[in-house]
Point group: C2
Chain length 304, copies 2
């Protein structure tokens, strides 16, 4: 079974605390490592949790607030010092140029690899990356500036052949791939052997969605409907509902309502305001609406 897991590197918000680091997480999906957001200290967190920098395939930046990007200069420099030569795809709002151009201009002579900036579409969903076994799409969130959520999904694998049945019916090799894709088999005497007899279902295609930062926005539900794991920001407790609205953030209860209404399997909440020394209130408020909720925490690994 191929790996699909999320590691939280930081689940704080704009103001750093001793409890939480600024936002960043890693998606380990079929031997590729993807990063979402890169707050200050992200590369230090990767060291702490022994993440393999050499496996880093591409970076996805939800939006250009400092707490989501100030770790980029250090991370890119370190990748370069480690001798990276593989290109790095950086998916972000096109204005990230403001940070990257001067950095690459000044430090350019030290950067050992090419960075491809792929601008995100702030207005609709868009396929960002695809290969045989997975795809990544972005979709718009609702924040003070252009902000994107991300959906990481496995593709369904072909059905698994039942070796014994293939042997029993003496099915020719050239028909195997059709059968994996769902075809029936017709014997020389015209008997139809239904595919369900010859195969077992393929591996389930798991899906992970990242929604941060965002106000309560039911409009995102079509993009994340039924995902196996939803990371949704929950900056505030319900007592700060007004402030959440003003700052285009969500309360824990609102995150849970999105999870419930989108019919997701599991919710993890993060992007906690620096005002909370303990998070039990946020968790309780979310669980009251959507029981299968847990708190993000630095170093936590969430398998799909």
């Amino acid at each position: 079974m191929t790996k699909f897991e999320v590691t939280i590197l930081g689940c704080g918000s704009a103001m750093p605390t001793t409890l939480h680091n600024p936002p960043s997480q890693l998606i380990d999906l079929h031997e590729k490592l993807f990063m979402i957001d890169c707050g200050e200290g992200t590369q230090l967190q990767m060291r702490k949790y022994k993440s393999r920098m050499s496996k880093l395939h591409s970076l996805f930046i939800s939006h250009l607030h400092g707490d989501h990007i100030f770790g980029l200069p250090g991370l890119l420099s370190t990748l370069s010092m480690l001798g990276r030569t593989n290109e790095l795809n950086l998916y972000a709002h096109r204005e990230i140029d403001f940070l990257l151009d001067p950095l690459l201009g000044y430090l350019g002579k030290y950067i050992s690899f090419r960075i491809n900036l792929i601008p995100l579409n702030p207005d609709g969903d868009e396929l960002l990356f695809e290969n045989r076994s997975m795809k990544v799409t972005s979709f718009p969130l609702k924040h003070r500036i252009a902000t994107n959520g991300f959906l990481f999904e496995e593709k369904e694998t072909p059905r698994h052949i039942i070796r014994e049945m293939i042997d029993f019916y003496r099915i020719p090799l050239r028909q195997i791939s059709d059968i994996k894709e769902g075809a029936d088999y017709i014997t020389s005497d015209g008997t139809v052997i239904r595919n369900e007899i010859l195969t077992l279902p393929g591996n389930p295609a798991k899906r992970y969605a990242y929604c941060s930062d965002t106000a309560y926005a039911p409009g995102i539900i079509p993009y994340i409907e039924g995902v196996d794991l939803l990371y949704h920001e929950a900056t505030f407790a319900e007592s700060e509902l007004v402030r959440a609205g003003e700052t285009y953030h969500s309360t824990a209860r609102q995150a849970a309502e999105i999870a419930r209404d989108a019919g997701v399997k599991k919710l993890v909440i993060g992007h906690f305001s620096s005002r909370y020394n303990e998070l039990e209130t946020l968790l309780k408020e979310a669980v009251a609406v959507f029981p299968d909720t847990e708190l993000a925490d630095e170093g936590k690994v969430l398998p799909l």
Copy 2:
């Protein structure tokens, strides 16, 4: 007695490790907080060691390698979120514009205070800041790019009046300040009472020097001669002497030779290469030349 102490926030070098943070330190001098260098994660270290951000008076950047500056964007943003209105003096090589201009241009609307960039002189020593009780000067180091060391020094205080002697000789109030500055007192019958009888010496003027990053450079000795505490980089052990020379860094022994030849009172070494999991070798090599040496470490407070 007014406070003068150094807090190490980071004493690693370019490549971050789980043992050491990138370079930064705080000088707490007569109720003002000065920062030297600001590697990634510096603001997080300030939180960890409960440094008072509101006391931060000015920043001194030795040179523009990433490990000395990548914490600036986050620190400046956080100071702004905390509502700072006092101007902040930033002493750095003038090319720091490459980092600051786009940042302030893009984030400018959120920055609540004025940043004064004061370009450092890379070729000679220069007075940077002075008030009644202290001064800060910069001087050139020897590195791959323009790099400055910094000298923080107290001014000598006036001599302390011995209350009982003033009363005994019935010295008029208007003569006290002259006596504090060293004047003798002449009684009405013409007797000269020498100043040493009326006063005790003022507080000693302590001096702290920061030298990182730098190759072994005896040329810096005149700037740091006799300081009470010298922070000198010691990136490498003696086994890496050739590499130290090539990269314009110092070995621990070379740092100790500078300390010995400059007649300083105490040496603390830092800017350790990421290759060292333990630092006993570096300490031994330095102590062999200059016994009063200690290792820097995150959170260590060095009183003067």
